[in-house]
Amino acid sequence: MSEIRRLIRPVPILLALVIFVAVPLGLAQFGKGYFFQIANLVLIFALLAASLHLVAGVAGLLHLGHAAFYGIGAYVAALLGTELKLGFLWGLPAGGLAAAVLALIVALPTMRLVSIYFAVATLAIGQMIHTVLLNWVSLTKGPNGVLLFSGIKLFGWAAKTPVAIYFVVAVVVAASIFAIHRLGHSYYGNALRSLREDDQCADAMGIDTVRLKIEVFTLSAFFAGIAGALWAYTTGYVSPTDFNFSNSILVLAMVVVGGLGSLPGAIIGAFLLILLPEVLRGFGDVRNVLVGLVMFFSILFLPKGLFGEVSALTFVRRHFGRSQNRVPGGEVGW
């Protein structure tokens, strides 16, 4: 355990070097915008996975609707850009804040739910948001999606080349992930972990568990919203299908594969699950099958994920254990 920890420690620095030096240099050699698109995608999903890691890995809450908050961020950024002509500097924080505010509103009544009811409630919330994005045609253009042409402009400087856009994404993602890292590796993070381990016991230690759950849910949605805004600005197009249930599962799979509770694990999970399908492109659109397979086999053979501090099994066990104690005498049927 501790050896793995020691190995991981230089990873952030190494990762920063890779992200800010090696990747742009390498990709610039190819000179293809497409590779930068992939790199952006990897970074955005790394941020998404990191934000879900905060809820699912650190606080131990199974969240099945994460993509919806990502979608809120993307739509808010895109609509601010197209309808109100507010640029990236507005869209980015607004996307994050809108997702956070919405998360706060839905969290207030639902965070008291435990275990599987929580998971199902988040699933329902995610689906509701998706339904709204899909059907509120007058605002969201429905299934056609929103085109955003404005591009990234910062204080008069426009990020026009793929490298420039990549750097903007990388800086935002790195800063956000650093913030998530700080949250996770603080005493606040320890309080969150105690929710995952035994929330009743945490309660007895003076920790306001419901409030903490609401906070972490909101914070995680904030970072998902940031990721959404980045997505809107890098692809220039948002449509509801990018934020549906399978995307929530994709992000969850990244967190599970990387190891619940491990931030580097979540990021590496994102790398794997975005890059692997790209490598396997020749075999058709296998990403989603791959997500399922990777998730299944990692639960089966790598219950701790690649770097996990909690085994996926313990996680679900803890998460679902207490809820389903059977009522005495209760049995199926009549």
Binding site: R112, Y117, A119, A124, V289, V291, E331, V332, G333
Partner: protein, 304 residues
């Protein structure tokens, strides 16, 4: 108020509710016995529909044969699902607690993973587009019923749901198998001690539940005339909602709630566009979870 239009909407809602009920029965059976949420139930339903398509295009047999073949294949899928997504995780539980938490809950993720593989595999094989079923096999011949019109499918699906419900009751209360299922459901360890083959009982439960799920899939496919790989997702969620509303392990509770759900969606579409109708189910779910922690028919659950 008693405008025939509303009656027609009620009839549509009721038939929708019966479809959800069809799905909810198998779902609740598996949950009730094993206390596991089988996320792959929706995919069993989809697979049922696709097997139906293959059978119909290859042989075009009469409806009853189609349903029976699909049910048999569905049962096989159920057994396979249990072997792949549920059985392996029982090794994590110690000998003493067969139905331990570890198994119960890790299977939620594994069944989710299997459902993704099944759905996406179907998409690779058939494409994500709608597949149409041969028109002459469909069960949508209209029947006029006073001021409203229903189709043959409504009657057939209603009948099948009723048969399932009654058959399941008979099975659970009148047969040795049912006794074993109820015993495992109430106390797996005790069941084991009195010599019930729990492993076999669990497989059987999956076979029965999946049989019903697959039959539901093919009937709904024939009812609408079109099937697609992701078709199981929404009814799966609705069945889940019905199960939670019904109090988790009550099959009649789930059926009644499924009907309620269908009716409210049917009525809702008179006020809002049908695209928004799904919101009704999700809204119901959230409201039930928050305000009726015991479910509407309170078989009960614990809220720590």
């Amino acid at each position: 108020m008693f405008d025939p239009y509303y009656l027609q909407q009620l009839a549509i809602g009721l038939s929708q509710g019966v479809i959800y009920a069809l799905m909810a029965i198998g779902f609740t059976l598996i949950f009730g016995v094993l206390n596991v949420v089988n996320f792959a139930h929706g995919e069993i339903y989809t697979l049922g529909a696709f097997v139906g398509l293959l059978v119909i295009t290859a042989l075009a047999p009469p409806l009853l044969v189609v349903v029976l073949v699909v049910a048999a294949v569905g049962a096989a899928f159920g057994v396979g699902l249990e072997r792949i997504a549920f059985k392996p995780f029982r090794r994590f539980s110690d000998e003493a607690s067969l139905k331990s938490r570890a198994m119960r809950e890790s299977t939620l993720m594994s069944s989710l993973a299997v459902s993704i593989v099944a759905r996406e595999g179907l998409e690779l094989a058939f494409g994500s587009q709608m597949q149409t079923l041969p028109f002459d096999q469909l069960i949508n011949k209209p029947i006029a019923l006073g001021p409203i019109t229903i189709v043959t499918g409504d009657v057939i699906i209603f009948a099948v749901a009723a048969v399932m419900l009654i058959g399941l009751q008979w099975l659970l209360t009148r047969t040795r198998v049912g006794l074993a299922i109820r015993a495992v459901s109430a106390n797996p360890l005790g069941a084991k001690y009195v010599g019930i083959d729990t492993d076999r009982t669990i497989i059987l439960t999956f076979a029965i539940g999946s049989m019903m799920g697959a039959a539901a899939g093919v009937l709904v496919g024939l009812y609408y005339g079109a099937i697609f790989p992701a078709m199981g997702f929404v009814p799966g969620i609705k069945a889940f909602v019905a199960m939670v509303m019904g109090g988790l392990s009550s099959i009649p509770g789930a059926v009644i709630c499924a009907l309620l759900l269908g009716l409210s969606e049917g009525l809702a579409t008179t006020f809002i566009s049908s695209n928004w109708a799904d919101m009704v189910a999700y809204g119901f779910l959230i409201v039930t979870l928050i305000f009726f922690p015991q479910g509407l028919f309170g078989a009960g659950r614990e809220r720590v």
